[in-house]
Symmetry: C2
Subunit: 310 residues, 2 copies
């Protein structure tokens, strides 16, 4: 069992509708590993500045996350300032201060190079590729990206497809990356390039998986009130990969189950503000919600097919 | 087995993005009964004008739909003219010509008053209530409405809740009807007023059911190309109610299975233009897609819960 995530450990300044901006611990590796820590013991490779307080390291340590490979460098920690629209879905990036992240070039220590599961969180695709080249023995590699990288690094991203086990994208990103307007055509193109499975994320509406067996649907777990959607995508990936790392199986059916776990884990993320609120979810809450999600989605297909008997 | 639908039999003038307007057979009762005719033999109560051609009656008859209670009156058939936005989801109503529908006041013939299943398609709520009062022996009554009726007829709609088995609404309509911004709160208010189950429709994203057992999720069946979404909501209701009428059971679990059938039936509706294209779907296509939908949604919950063992 070994789960490595390479991504950002950062601060987010978040403006929710009608609220003052609030600064909170964030970053793709932070959210991913907090989510993953419900089921596994992730290791983070990232960089922070000298301003990064010990208490935030202590918070991650307390979750069983290995922070010993988070490098501390002279300078400021990465900061992102975002403002959510009234619908709590759309958001504008107001400011991105890279700080020490600007020169981040991840070197994977020898002892992490044989990690079973690797998450290439949303960072520059050429850096993701560097990590991929340093983790040749990984049994499962997940890749995440965002729109702003796709135009600049399309060929790097596409060159990673043969080694990518699970690619997280939204529908616009599939279109942008493949040039195909139709998601089904775009997804099958990416599968044709070697990626094992592709998850198209639809935010509050859930996700669709495209893999060698076809399509699997993951409606979002319905939450009564979304407090802050920041980190939901990373938490989705974190829950999924932690499940796979925990069971040590990476076949199609395992990935399909993993994404159901990720869906449920992500539902807790959006119900609170920041990773600390997320971490307060009890393991029993997760099991209970998982059971409810299965009840909410599963259909008695055998009965229906015999009833309709066409 | 007896399934009655009261609604419109009409013509739709439909403008799809970048296309010339095309007139096609439409109306809530037409779409509902075409969908229902895959699994049951619906009876339509509606009114058409003297302009309504025999070939369209013959089309419905050919589907096993009982058209003998469609009244023909001096005047023009109801016509709706709509223009879809580029996303093929939003649409504007350009023109609504009620014609003979303006004076429609449904009288349910004696032989239909003991129908098991009744669908009150989208017509004026006071007329729906009239039908409800004439079908006191119905075992299952479904209700559909649209935004424009809710403000004008809120009290009529709410007064029908105790007799409504299944209420089809979208999320804005739940908010508008209940005055509650939060869908969960709004849904539980309506359940508290006596409606047995409430389906919140989300178009391409599927639907959510609220009932006495909790929540059930119905992601839309993914279709590669949406040709025309007109009629999808009526087809969803048609497939659902036809299933219930076919099996003659109306408990919570049956309704939950029925909505899965409705979801799959509706997916064929959007893939073609007009009810005739829809009707060309073969029964074997419906069974095959139903089986695929079950595969796409069902999760091996037992395995996950034992794996995560929290």
């Amino acid at each position: 069992m070994s789960l490595l995530v390479v991504g950002s450990v950062a601060y987010d300044v978040i403006e929710l509708p009608g609220r003052e901006p609030v600064e909170v611990l964030g970053g793709s590796a932070t959210w991913f590993s907090t989510a993953a820590s419900f089921l596994s013991r992730p290791v983070i490779v990232a960089v922070v500045g000298t301003d990064f307080p010990e208490e935030d390291i202590a918070f991650l340590d307390g979750r069983g996350i290995d922070t010993s490979f988070i490098e501390r460098r002279e300078g400021l920690t990465f900061r992102w300032h975002g403002r959510y629209h009234d619908d709590m879905i759309g958001r504008d990036s107001l400011k991105t201060e890279l700080g020490v992240f600007a020169d981040f070039s991840p070197v994977i220590p020898q002892e992490l190079r044989d990690s079973d599961v690797v998450c290439l969180g949303n960072i520059k695709p050429d850096l993701q590729k560097l990590v991929m080249m340093q983790t040749r023995d990984a049994r499962f590699i997940a890749l995440d990206t965002i729109e702003c990288w796709i135009d600049m690094y399309r060929s790097e991203l596409l060159s990673m497809m043969p080694r990518t086990s699970l690619f997280f994208l939204n529908d616009d990103e599939v279109r942008q990356l493949t040039g195909e307007r139709n998601i089904f055509v775009g997804a099958s193109r990416l599968l044709g390039m070697g990626v094992k499975a592709l998850v198209v994320k639809k935010g509050e509406h859930g996700a669709i998986l495209f893999d060698e067996k076809g399509i699997k649907l993951y409606p979002a777990y319905p939450v009564e009130a979304v407090v802050d959607p920041t980190g939901a995508g990373d938490s989705f990936a974190g829950g999924t990969l932690a499940y796979l790392d925990r069971i040590g199986e990476f076949d199609v059916e395992s990935v399909r189950r993993g994404l159901a776990v990720g869906t449920v884990v992500a539902s807790f993320c959006v119900e609170g503000f920041g990773p600390r609120a997320f971490a307060r979810v009890r393991p029993s809450d997760l099991s209970a919600r998982m059971a409810r999600y299965v009840e909410m989605t599963n259909i008695d297909g055998g009965r229906i097919l015999s009833d309709i008997d066409l």
